[in-house]
Amino acid sequence: MNILVLLRMVPDVVEELEIAPDGRTLDTEYLRMIVNESDDHALEQALILKERKGGKVTVLALDAPDVDDVLFSAVAKGADRVMKIEGGDGGVTTRAAAGMFAEIIRNEKDLQPFDIVLTGVQAIDDLDALVAPILSHRLGLPYLAIVTKVTPDATGKSVTAIREFAGGVRGEFDVPLPAVLGIQAAEKPPRYVPVAKVRAAMKTSKIESIGVPTMADGGQPLLDVSHMRKPVVSGHAQMLDGEPEDVSKKLAGIFTERGLL
């Protein structure tokens, strides 16, 4: 199975996000980037598929700070080929990013033929699009979102995918290949890769560089962000301070008041 995995870096919300003086973008001074969590799951699902069915995992990422670490760690985990789209001015919107991915997948002959494209179902900065649907439309491939499991069928021409709905209900889908899947979670949490293996990958493997493709639509954003702010909290919890014992007593009091005890 030839599997393409698309990775994007997003701001790490462990770090305090600051808004730039223009009031419309994030301040990049303290910004740290981390791989989009569901993209990481997409990679894990790809590796699981490879282990089960053989084949090749190619990872394609947009250039961003720290993306090299992520790509080398993908190699250490078992990815066969890692590529980075370089040369853009950074800060592209999701829609433009998806467009670039589509262009490259369509035009880079050595990425063909592929069986399946896996990427995260959604990212915390997907303001103007989700990647997978755009990709499926531009490549003319079937699309399924919120996938939590992918099992290859015997024919090799389709996979069975589990997708989540609401209320704990899931659906089992027959997905003809090639297809684009938005992965919510891999079958099991992403594996641990020891630092030594990542460092070894840095020495022995190479990140292939691809230039930013020229886009027919110019990749211009269709939205204007006029204002960014930290959420103004309309209501905030009444905070209870003190040692756990005191807090417990206060809480128990509240529970009793509400007739819960």
């Binding site: 462990v14 305090e16 594996r191 020891p194 293996k197 460092r199």
Partner: protein, 631 residues
């Protein structure tokens, strides 16, 4: 008595029989031992040939003087006597054997030399007395961890026969030479049989352990040489495999092991037993299955706290912790880690701390201080204070870390911290087997050190202390634990004891301060000076009992255990001391662990846990006191 080797039996001279017995015995012994040696030669190398004089010194203490055995005095003395009786009788045996095999030699038998006979008699009697003590202990009052095995019975009996036949032989030499001669043969045959049986028995320790001690680890770090981990026999170093041969299964390790004592699956003794089998069984090599998942389970491997209790008390200098770390390295290399540990390692890789907090918030605790500690990267300082993760990020340690800062300030100490330039020291990272991550953290810290200007380092955390002092290579300079520094500050009059606290307290020796680095006196001296009446717990100093957090355990999910967890057992031990209301600690993880244990044991009304620094502040800055005295 006639010369037993010259006498004729069934038409052949005695020495012919002796030759036959000796050849068979030495052949059986030699074939077996040679196989062990071959296995060790084929194993991974681990150089242990350095510092011979120092090694001989350790040999003198731990083999000849039986230092570690004497830590359990009754059986220690008995073993001491049996050991020396064995040495004397071994000399006598070889003397007699050579004389018997080569009857033409113009020398007498050993027991025909009067002074030797006297020595043999004395050691024989003492040895037999010691055997009785050992037998009574083993069969009537067996300590935990000592199993009654047929093997032990056989060996004790054989030693008794050897001693008895010699004593009786001497006693009957004049009165009944025939009997003496028969006893001589029984004696020689028993020893030769013993020799042939020895390599198959756990009492191989009496041959192997002197070498184990001689080639033991001189620096207690518990960290094996660089490797990608081990599960297969050939992946282990010869010294690690050798531990299996040297083990006498005495159970001392189990009696000190926090995992075993809480009823968790790990037993360091059983681990050694598996290693004995690993060396003995030729089938367990690379092509076969690894040890992990077969003889040794993952719960065993992750159960270890690396507290060093087992290695510190092991009379034969076995290396349990390096073996555990090797196997952890193997599991890490396979990516086999539990979810909690995995997220911690990911946090450490990404943020340099185990809390997954933004590195920018590392020095947030300084915000409420009335002064701002210097940034050692920007200003020259005398002391670089390496604060550590727990003290920096855990809310429960804020009073401790702030008290430390105020005390240093009070003492006009020229100190600074690294702010967001500090990373986890990597001590526990290394001990969970993530050596690559340890290297990375060490590089980052060294980089921060290089950018800073300081003369000495002081740490809050004993784990960081061990790493920086002993595992950071060249840059280790002068690393102190804060208890050592505070002790000096009081000595030098920089900190003045204002108020004698007049409380009764006990002190818990942290593993990495005590056993690993021998710092026992500084904290006790400080407590004494600030007017704390010290009451020792039964398990103190080198026998201190681990809180259960070390070796990365604090980052892992708890495994089911059938008995009390280590920290719970420890707070009970402290609470049982008459009049003691304060348990003093000098390790951030101890504070966290023991405070939790007080809750789960319901001892909160009886005992409080205080960091030493909090008490020092009460005494040295009584007017500015922020922490309450225990009532």
């Amino acid at each position: 008595m006639h010369d037993p080797a010259a006498a004729e039996y069934f038409g052949l001279p005695g020495f012919a029989y002796l030759w036959l017995f000796a050849l068979v015995s030495f052949f059986l012994f030699g074939r077996r031992v040679w196989r062990y040696i071959q296995t060790l030669i084929e194993a991974r190398n681990e150089p242990r040939w350095d510092q011979i004089p120092r090694r001989l010194g350790v040999f003198g203490l731990d083999v000849l003087a039986q230092r570690k055995l004497l830590r359990e005095p009754v059986i220690g003395v008995a073993h001491f006597l049996i050991f020396w009786a064995f040495v004397v009788f071994a000399v006598s045996f070889f003397w007699n054997l050579i004389r018997g095999l080569l009857p033409f030699l113009p020398i007498p038998y050993a027991d025909d030399v009067s002074w030797m006979a006297a020595v043999l008699t004395v050691m024989g009697v003492l040895g037999l007395a010691a055997l009785i003590v050992a037998a009574v202990r083993r069969y009537i009052f067996p300590p935990a961890g000592l199993e009654k095995s047929g093997d032990a019975t056989l060996i004790l009996s054989l030693i008794a026969i050897v001693l008895l036949t010699s004593l009786l032989g001497q006693a009957t030499k004049e009165s009944s030479p025939q009997l003496a001669q028969a006893l001589w043969w029984v004696h020689m045959a028993t020893v030769l049989g013993f020799l042939a049986y020895l390599p198959y028995s756990k009492h191989l320790h009496l041959l192997a352990s002197p070498f184990g001690v001689l080639f033991g680890a001189l620096q207690p770090g518990g960290i094996p040489p660089p490797s990608e981990g081990a599960s297969f026999r050939d992946d282990f170093t010869w010294r690690q495999l050798f531990s299996g041969l040297a083990c006498a299964e005495c159970g001392r390790c189990e009696r000190g092991c926090p995992a075993f004592q809480s009823g968790e699956p790990l037993s360091p003794k059983v681990l050694m037993h598996h290693f004995k089998e690993l060396v003995r069984s030729p089938s367990l090599v690379r092509d076969g299955d690894g040890v992990i998942g077969n003889q040794v389970q993952q719960e065993d491997i992750w159960g270890c706290r690396t507290c060093l209790a087992c290695m510190d008390r092991c009379p034969v200098a076995n290396e349990h912790i390096p073996i555990i770390v090797e196997m952890r390295r193997f599991l890490i290399s396979q990516g086999t880690v539990d979810a909690h540990l995995q997220s911690t390692l990911v946090n450490l890789t990404r943020y340099g701390n185990s809390f997954g907090a933004s590195p920018r918030t590392r020095a947030k605790w300084t915000q409420n201080l009335e002064f701002k500690p210097k940034d050692a990267r920007k200003e020259k300082v005398e002391y670089l204070w390496f604060v550590g993760d727990y003290a920096s990020f855990d809310a429960r340690l804020q009073p401790v870390v702030q008290a430390t800062a105020r005390l240093f300030h009070e003492a006009s100490l020229d100190f600074g911290i690294l702010y967001d330039g500090e990373n986890n020291s990597g001590n526990d990272v290394r001990r969970v087997g993530e050596e690559g991550l340890f290297d990375m953290l060490r590089e980052k810290n060294r980089h921060a050190f290089d950018k800073s200007s300081f003369d000495r380092i002081v740490t809050t955390d004993p784990h960081s202390f061990q790493a920086l002092k002993n595992e950071y290579g060249e840059s280790n300079g002068h690393v102190q634990h804060y208890t050592q520094l505070v002790d000096h500050l009081i000595d030098d009059g920089k900190l003045t004891v204002g108020k004698r606290l007049g409380i009764k307290a006990t002190y818990h020796d942290p593993c990495y301060l005590g056993r690993y680095n021998g710092v026992y006196d500084a904290p006790r001296r400080i407590l004494n000076r600030i007017g704390v009446e010290m009451v020792e717990m039964p398990r103190n100093r080198a026998d201190s009992y681990c809180c259960g957090a070390g070796g990365g355990r604090i980052w892992m999910e708890d495994v089911p255990c059938s008995k009390e967890r280590p920290a719970e057992s420890r707070v009970r031990e402290a609470a049982a001391l008459p009049g003691v209301e304060t348990l003093v600690v000098s390790c951030p993880k101890d504070l966290v662990m023991f405070q939790d244990a007080l809750k789960t044991t319901g001892l909160e009304d009886k005992l409080v846990v205080k960091d030493l620094v909090e008490l020092v502040e009460q005494s040295c800055r009584p007017d500015k006191e922020r922490v309450e005295c225990p009532t």
